[in-house]
Assembly symmetry: D2
Homo-oligomer: 363 residues x 4
């Protein structure tokens, strides 16, 4: 990802960070997105015991089309269980752990005082953990404010990849019109399942209308993101979400067909304006797009092949959601949206979250 | 397609039929499905002027994995405009014409007294034309009863490929519980666009969330099929349908995610029973499945690759719709259904319709 | 697979057989091809310890588009290590074991007196083991003649999937003209790697020009199959083979581009005749095709999608190799050939081999 | 494509060029590669009569994942037949015409005095037309030297996409060891057929072992590129080439399996050195790679998905050929090579050729 020159600074001044679960697909994406990051510098790579002790380039089966940063390849992978503050003065950890491993590891790291920004689903619905998309619900970061300075540490999670796109698309509607109910059907890319992930024999020339736990995540995470922060935590929003999730033979990009009943109906033009003028609640940090939503008027778009990197070419590549084919049918609003599932939908979102925390002085 | 032995008879006794638009993708499917048909025998092949005069095997670019019937390959293709009753005593015509050509040609043929069973969309919504799925709304055939004997001729259409699956899946719910509204999102196979159809550059590693006119067809045809036959024609049913249609890189089979609000809510078990016990209103003709709906309990099915030919292996291959992942969420019913888009969803449906007309003495 | 009616007989008379490695991809193919086999009846299913004790339908993740035979699904999977003659009087074992497991297990079974027909590569190049394609080098079966009656048992292997196609295509050329050298490049289907096999992230929209050990197998197995049986074993044929093997995003069917230098040059017509008139050295058993090689004159064929099941539709489906695009360039002969990698190239070949052994009285 | 900053200059100083056949797939690639080109500026877009008069963004169905340059979209498309020198002082024309149209149009333009750099096959084998890869056979440009100044105009062609890769790979072997014969088999991407090009029904889950005229082009063009320039034109090199060409379901990148008999055998290390140390005969212009050949030691590479953009990231993206899996078998050398078929294999090559002509003072 390229960043605005204004943020450029010498490596010496950057904040050292760790990536845990560094060898897997999401870990690789964290590393790729953090290459040349103006604020953060990856200094520690950690993974499960098996990879520990090896150079990263030997431990990881690099699967991104972008090349592995050469300095990263030479770094030695640490054992997750042995991370301490004395390792390169790390305080910030990006977690790409699988969910089952994350439950304990992330809690332990937080309790030691680390600030964990995680893509894992393990703690997303925990009361004291923000489920955060920095430009959609930045105020939820308040849940962890003050905890770093008290050396308590904390976990901040990004949502499920499909939810990140959906919540982004729903946010301006929620603000402008209110939402009564949502029916969403997804076309999800194979990269969402990591590596080795989906066997080719399962998905070549096929669609698989089942992704374990995915529909449940979509149905519950949306309400937390669009919920209201109170003194006693986040109160879930009350609209209903019905999700149908399927895997399609596409490498990158989750496409979603969304049908929404609004509280107060806007005209088609008002809806399009709500989408296209939405500025987001954080567009000042390196990884945040100037506008989180791009509206396309092309009747055959958005398409994964052409629209994953819409937005400003110079920054925040893969961080904008594209919305198209907006129409009103009966009393409902129908549109398609497209999200880059491993950038805005995963590693990119956690990086943007950490940037917001930095800007707010929380880390 | 294999048929029950009981229907087997000598070719001499079969009813001669014509296929028009015979060289295209749907025309090929008509020919393949009518090979060894116990009642009908393809005697006339017709196409537009360009193909006329050539042997079928030279005129058609055969694209089915099943082999071209060898006797068909040697037949000479006729010019559609020159078809008369004296051609092999043809009265029944299966039409695989593109919609724009069908508008005039089918009307002309009907007015000459031919019985036209058509896959084209041109006349589907005409007042005096049944939009027929023989095992779902057989009573609509009454619209044309008596017209053949009066030498008036008629057109009977099969629905759009996506609609055929959807209307089949909705029928038992409509009967048992009543339907308030439907939100459907499709994953449609490339074979639905014919040949050459979708360019590979458009769909390889991509999803295209747009198929011209498809959503409109889905939204209106359903109501006619599930509408009520009265003396003054078919009164459309009144539930709303919102459709989102996309092309996916799959060769055969339209998968559909369906979310239904029912008039009177059944339990999950009652819904499953309504599906699985639905016998259809015509299961006595060679191409009609014993049960139009197969219910799968496998949590990852139906899938195009594995479930297109569910049902009895001996007959009506590709004529059953498979329903799975049935769940109740909030006050809605959600399921996935799969239909073979070029068999039940096109040529197979028109053949079943003609069989019903034959059994009812209408042809 | 359908077989000629003449062979039909009651189940009671059939020879009971076992399939070991029954739960994997090749094991599934053995079971599917042996359904309704006129001579053999699958009575014992065995697999590694983990699957043992479970019903087959619970232990196997069935991945064929053909349905699992219902009686097989209910059978209990045995532990391979515990197979004895007293299990349903089994003497014949079809092995679908992975190569590393096969090394010891197959040797042990043979030494106990079982007749093992194996798809594993472990023993293919062993001196006393025929590397057999029943209609190409049936005489090699002599290597094990007499061993069953002496209760010694034996192993007969089928070749690697690519080699089975290649050796079949080369055989008539070898006979008619002699072969000096072969350069072969393959386009191999993902089903060749079993299940889960190739990750979709590796092969979607990609070609992988590497299959572990495949080129070595192609280069050595051909010479054994086309080698000469002598009293001291098979003397390898002496022509050179250079193989380049790649995986392509295709479900079934290995396509091969073959360039051959012949000892004595025939005309193009003579070469085509040699292919098309080749009858094979065994076309009398249920799974052997009437002709092992089908020649296509279509300039764009053979193609995996259309030509895998060429040949007589009534029997031996998937057992013929299709050859096309035959041309002479400079002093070389160039053609493409296509083989069904999991039928003729694996399970189907071993079944045909066992049929030959039965017909010859060796089992 | 990004270029070295050193070449950057103001638009005012750039040489105006035209792209003809501008709306098609190769035309789009010319336009994309010429965006921000340091020497050339696209001022004229021309196409056949049908597109003429429309704005480019209305006339072209843009199919690249890179966005259409916004200034280009607003330009009006001219009729090819009406191009004159007075149009923006154009002297240089990049031709992306289909071959049948190119025959006459390119000859006419050259005879009017234009300098035509063409991707079309029409004139490639003409005696007075260089078949040029600027870093492989730059001396062939002499064929047209002096013709511009005499206002004669000329045509310079780039080779067929497969040949560009092959000739690049063969060049260092030809120089270091001499070549006796070549057997090449290709895995060609669908983008090579343009748009709409290959129907998805033909290539999804399939391989098509036939591309019209492709094998003939590969077999003859190589010899011209590696031929010797004499006073009486290019004398073709004498080694034999046997080509087998197939289309695979991959979007971009032609992979080729190459088997070479060398005149004087080098060791495996010497061969690798010849490849990796080959500097090319032109690496000084903006679009020429520092090294035309990248050698990979990864046993599973090169792969279209990962290796199309190997080389220096800052310049000449898609202009290097990657070679891997080099092995010596018997007396032959075998390797795989990968070329970006629409960049080095088409538009990028002609741009590099024009740059060389500029540097040499020929234009």
């Amino acid at each position: 990802m390229q960043h605005l020159t204004a943020w450029s600074c010498e490596n010496l001044d950057k904040i050292p960070v760790a990536v845990i679960g560094a060898t897997g697909a999401v870990g690789q994406r964290f590393i790729q997105l953090l290459e040349n990051h103006p604020w953060f510098s990856v200094e520690v790579l950690a993974a499960s015991g098996r990879s520990a002790g090896h150079r990263y380039k030997d431990a990881a089966n690099w699967k991104l089309s972008e090349q592995m940063p050469s300095d990263i390849g030479e770094k030695k992978v640490q054992d997750i269980d042995l991370i301490t503050f004395s390792d390169n003065n790390i305080e910030i950890i990006f977690s790409a752990l699988p969910s089952d491993a994350a439950t304990k590891v992330e809690s332990d790291l937080a309790s030691k005082g680390f600030c964990v920004f995680s893509n894992a689903s393990a703690h997303r619905m925990d009361q004291d953990v923000p489920l955060l998309i920095a430009d959609i619900n930045p105020q939820h970061l308040e849940l962890v404010a003050g905890r770093k300075k008290a050396q308590k540490g904390f976990i901040v999670t990004n949502p499920n990849c499909s939810v990140t796109g959906l919540a982004t698309g729903l946010k301006p509607l929620h603000e402008a019109f209110g939402i009564k109910s949502v029916v969403v059907t997804t076309y999800q890319a194979i990269s969402g399942a990591g590596y080795p992930g989906v066997p080719s024999m399962d998905i070549t020339d096929n669609v698989v209308p089942y992704i374990p736990n995915e529909e449940e995540k979509v149905e519950e995470e949306c309400q937390k993101i669009l919920g209201t922060l109170t003194d006693s935590g986040v109160i879930l929003s009350s609209f209903s979400v019905i999700a149908s999730c399927a895997r399609v033979p596409v490498r990158d990009g989750h496409l979603e067909s969304v049908c929404v009943a609004l509280e107060s109906n806007g005209t088609l033009d008002e809806v399009k304006q709500a989408f296209s003028q939405y500025k987001g609640l954080n567009n000042k940090t390196p990884t945040s797009p100037l506008r989180p939503i791009i509206v396309t008027e092309d009747e055959s778009r958005p398409q994964p092949l052409f629209d994953l990197y819409n937005g400003e070419p110079e920054r925040a590549r893969g961080m904008a959601v594209t919305v198209g084919r907006i129409k009103k049918v009966q009393d409902k609003l129908r549109f398609y949206l497209l999200v880059h599932n491993t950038i805005r939908g995963a590693a990119g979102c956690s990086i943007m979250n950490a940037e917001l925390a930095k800007m707010k002085g929380i880390i």
